[in-house]
Amino acid sequence: MAQQTESKISRIIDQQESDILADWTRQLAGGRARSSGSIPEAQLRSEAGEFLNLLRRAVRKSVDDVNGADWQPVREVLGSISRSRGTQGFTPSETAMFVFSLKKPLMARIAAEHGKDAEGLAADTERLTTILDQLGLYTTEIFQLGREDVIRRQQQDMLELSTPVVKLWDGVLALPMIGTLDSSRTQIVMESLLQRIVETGAQLAIIDITGVPTVDTLTAQHLLKTVTAARLMGAECIISGIRPQIAQTIVHLGVELNGVTTKATLADAFAVALQRLGLVISRANHKS
């Protein structure tokens, strides 16, 4: 009995593949009109066709085990479709609808095929539902993974973007910090600063925290660590860009910034740096 019903799903797809495909694409196109995304109909049809073709082959081999090796190609195609949907900004339900909208055309044909055989119809319906539900869940899972990849990549980009060490003058480095300072970021900041000190032989480093939204005890501790490490290497640090609220927070928290030169603006810090190096800025004496 089971063997007989199994072969029916497979046979239905075998015999009516183009009909099902037409129905399905119509459904997808209908859904598409409502959804925000815009996938060309030709692409939709080719994706649907490929998926249905692979589904047909997989169903012929085994009906039950969607996670098995027989279903590998189906999962791969579905994975790449969900990933591309994910990067194009579709919602997870829109992505999952790709699979779920196949239910209707297939269900109608299964019902027609079985006719009055209620038991066979129930068994096949259950099988089909299970398969499509699992595949739908799979799309959501892949979609989520794709999104997480995007987030991870952006985090990495941000990390690299937001910790530049720039040379202001011969022997003066500046480190404009932007964003929240957490442990991993401070580690990178510290390493890149110390590395640049070695490379350039700088005596002074200005750490500008204008772009740091809040300073808590941990952030202050990280800053002090960086200052101390630079001092151990023989370079002096000046902290600049301390906003009024941050100055208040630092005092309220009881953070000791003793022994660290602090300045309100980067310009002030640069002036101090030049003074330490024994340099003077003077107005150009041009005759006009």
């Binding site: 590395q195 032989g201 101390t228 290497m233 370079a235 002096e236 022994g259």
Partner: protein, 131 residues
């Protein structure tokens, strides 16, 4: 026994640590250096640790101790050429080496020693107060 050489350069002593320090070596250096400062009447000590790749809390403390001992013996000590990794390790270990003067390389260290030697004490304190 393995020893770290102590070179005399005028009124300064130069210690170049070229091998990875182990505990006994550090203790020997401490003995040798304090003895050498007294013997030569040195006024400045330059410790070059640019080849030192690894430190632990003991070596970190030894560097700090040696610097403080030299200061008591009236010799200013400058530690030069610390590697970034070593600096990070010391900071993470909580050893910020307070009171130890540092410079980026031997050249700068010698200049700093000269400045310390010839400047008045008040001026020096003022100059390095932010460090």
């Amino acid at each position: 026994m393995e020893r770290i050489p102590i070179l005399r350069m005028g009124e300064y002593l130069l210690v170049t640590i070229q091998v990875d320090m182990h505990d006994q070596l550090a203790l020997t250096l401490q003995d040798d250096l304090t003895a050498a400062i007294t013997r030569y009447g040195a006024h400045g000590v330059l410790i070059d640790i640019s080849s030192l790749e690894m430190v632990d809390s003991f070596i970190g403390r030894m560097i700090s101790n040696i610097a403080n001992m030299s200061r008591i013996l009236d010799a200013e000590t400058v530690v030069v050429g610390m590697q970034p990794a070593v600096a990070i390790t010391l900071v993470e270990l909580g050893l910020s080496l307070p009171g130890v003067r540092t410079a980026l390389n031997v050249d700068r260290g010698m200049r700093l020693l000269g400045a310390l030697r010839h400047a008045s004490p008040a001026e020096v304190a003022d100059d390095r107060s932010e460090a």
